[in-house]
């Protein structure tokens, strides 16, 4: 490695299958790192028909430069085309640091590109810092199902690569009057790079309305809920009353009380809402891995020693069956909203 400069973000556009909001979350942590290193912050956008205005919008949110690659093969997300275009851009731009979201895209593309460039990647980081002495990127990530935390650095390789867990960074604010440049690159992709085909997409039946990833309030049930009927009557009804989404622990899904798509945790959905209510959930590290960054956590559990209280702001030690009807009724009054 020699002379690599700047921080580059792999942006995500919902129009080509990216996660909404991810780019702004990356811009906020990227800006912090760029200012600390006194280096430029840029964004790489892949798509087909991405225009300069979209680039200017990211400049308003903190980028100094935006690179755009338009190619018919990038119109919708495919791991092979996105990895190949990203690899080409990295060889041309030669950044010091390259960040992506730990989204569906980042889970494929970051390791693919990292291995192609023979560099180091840390997946699913909660935080990134610059080590004062070495000026290296300190990549902080949960390990052992969230039981432990690890700090990694890259050896003498470049770019230093990390993926950032969605919803752990506040989106970068818009600032009027920021200026920067938009530059177009070409990937000259050939269809032969695609080695798999996406042939069907069977979406879960969704109850409609608020879904887990975008919910500001999540009401989750655990194994202690006891039945599918109780899950519906308590968790889903409560979520409806407060305008939130229903979630569940793995044990609750495995028992068939809640639909499989609603699992929150290490291997389920990651959420970071304003309010997370954990009802009859013990708080295993793998569950906390998916919701521990929520702004306010409330636990309702009959076991005063349940681990979930360790991460909670408010707790009630009691049988949920006696707490929830009154809680739901009061919420309905306060929120002034019926199901």
């Amino acid at each position: 490695m020699a002379g690599e400069k700047g921080i580059l973000i792999g942006g995500e556009l919902p129009s080509s299958g990216g996660r909404p909001g991810m780019t702004l979350e990356l811009l906020s942590i990227g800006r912090k790192l760029a200012d600390e290193l006194n280096e430029e912050l840029s964004v790489l956008l892949l798509g087909n028909g991405v225009n300069d205005a979209e680039g200017q919008e990211l400049i308003a949110h903190g980028a100094d430069k935006v690179y755009i690659i338009n190619d018919p093969l990038l119109a919708t997300y495919h791991p092979d085309t996105f990895a190949t275009a990203t690899e080409k851009a990295l060889r041309e731009i030669k950044p010091n640091i390259f960040l992506m979201g730990r989204s569906e895209i980042g889970q494929d593309v970051a390791p693919m590109v990292g291995f192609r460039l023979r560099t180091g990647v840390a997946m699913d980081c909660l935080d990134l810092q610059i080590d004062a002495a070495s000026k290296k990127l300190m990549m902080i990530r949960p390990v052992y199902g969230g039981n432990a935390r690890a700090h990694f650095v890259c050896t003498d390789v470049a770019p230093q690569m990390a993926t950032v867990r969605p919803k752990t960074q506040d989106p970068a604010p818009r600032q009027e009057g920021r200026i920067g440049t938009v530059q177009h690159l070409s990937a000259a992709l050939d269809a032969s790079v695609k080695r798999s085909e996406w042939v069907a997409y069977n979406k879960w039946e969704s109850a409609g309305g608020v879904t887990l990833p975008n919910a500001e309030i999540v009401i989750s049930g655990g194994r202690g809920i006891g039945s599918a009927e109780a899950y519906k009557d308590t968790i889903e009804v409560c979520a409806g009353v407060v305008g939130g989404a229903a979630g569940a622990s793995k044990a609750c899904c495995d028992a068939g009380y809640a639909p499989p798509g609603l699992q929150v945790g290490l291997t389920g959905q990651r959420v970071s809402p304003k309010l997370y209510v954990a009802v009859a959930i013990s708080g295993a590290s793998q569950h906390i891995a998916g919701m521990g960054t929520s702004k306010n956590i409330v636990a309702i559990n009959k076991d005063p020693d349940a681990n979930i209280f360790k991460v909670s702001r408010y707790g009630i030690v009691a049988d949920y069956k006696q707490v929830m009807p009154a809680f739901i009724k009061k919420c309905r009054e306060l929120v002034g909203k019926s199901e």
Binding site: E104, D108, M138, F152, T155, V242, V323
Partner: protein, 267 residues
């Protein structure tokens, strides 16, 4: 032609170890094994073996090989795979394989796969339940120059040269197809892996497990260099004590909670 499927499985501390028994030796940057809790095959790797065996159930002439890179105790992971129904086991064990990073792991696995020779598909876990990296599977595919389909719940062969694969996405299932050779990785949606039968345990006990060292694989010093370094490992502390809401009855506590959340403008 009979199919040949290779499963990569890692040994990890039992992830169901209660949080209270979880300890770290900060100086060694290692987890201290909890007394009386044996290490296990990483759960998603066991599910990957299950998917391979479901294919073998349909096509009994299929050969399933299980490979694990680890210390001497990782032999138990290979044995477990054999007891579930795999045909051959390989342990990659060498002093230089201790504390390897994701790149080095994938590199050694790629040499092992090349030494095995012909195969149709590789089965991995979505992420190993120790460092939760979720990189080695894709890295192995990249080093072998084959496609990777990740985070699956099932796979099947459409023809001898083409697989169909169901990937678990946040809002549903994506169905993918790819030509072999291909690497696939699996998550909990696979469902419960089979228990070893007594007969398979007996057969497995008699099976010879190949042990391959760095020299057997032609590990090349320069190519084997790590790309990342672990500088710190610790148990995070959660700041902020929990306020337990006291009341005369659980119902009243529920009402108080709603009021508190309203006051704090959370609902």
């Amino acid at each position: 032609m009979p199919l040949h499927l290779i499963c990569c499985a890692k040994q990890v501390p039992d992830p169901e170890t209660p949080a209270a028994s979880f300890r770290i030796d900060p100086a060694a940057k290692k987890v201290v094994p909890a007394p009386g809790i044996a290490p296990v095959i990483s759960p998603f790797d066991e599910q990957a073996v299950e998917v391979a065996l479901r294919i073998k159930d349909k096509r009994p002439d299929t050969k399933v090989t299980i490979v694990s890179l680890g210390g001497a105790s990782a032999r138990d992971v290979v044995k477990h795979g054999l007891a579930m129904g795999a045909d051959e086991g390989i342990l990659l064990e060498d002093p230089t394989f201790e504390n390897v990073d994701a790149f080095q792991t994938a590199y050694v696995l790629s040499l092992a796969v090349k030494k095995v020779g012909q195969f149709d598909a590789i089965f991995c876990g979505r992420q190993a339940a120790d460092f939760d990296q979720g990189q080695v599977a894709i890295g192995l595919a990249e080093l072998l120059g084959i496609p990777a389909l990740i985070n699956g719940q099932s796979a099947d062969f459409i023809t001898d040269n083409r697989v169909t694969f169901e990937r678990v996405l946040p809002d549903g299932i994506g169905v993918f197809e790819a030509n072999t050779p291909v690497l696939t990785s699996y998550s909990q949606e696979v469902g419960q892996p089979r228990y070893p039968t007594l007969r398979n345990i007996m057969t497995a006990a008699r099976k010879e497990i190949s042990v391959w060292k760095a020299a057997d694989l032609g590990v090349n010093g320069a190519a084997f260099a790590p790309k990342t370094r672990l500088v710190d490992l610790y148990v995070p502390t959660y700041e902020g004590a929990c306020e337990i809401i006291e009341a005369d009855s659980p119902a009243e506590a529920g009402e108080k909670l709603a009021l508190k959340l309203r006051e704090a403008k959370i609902i």
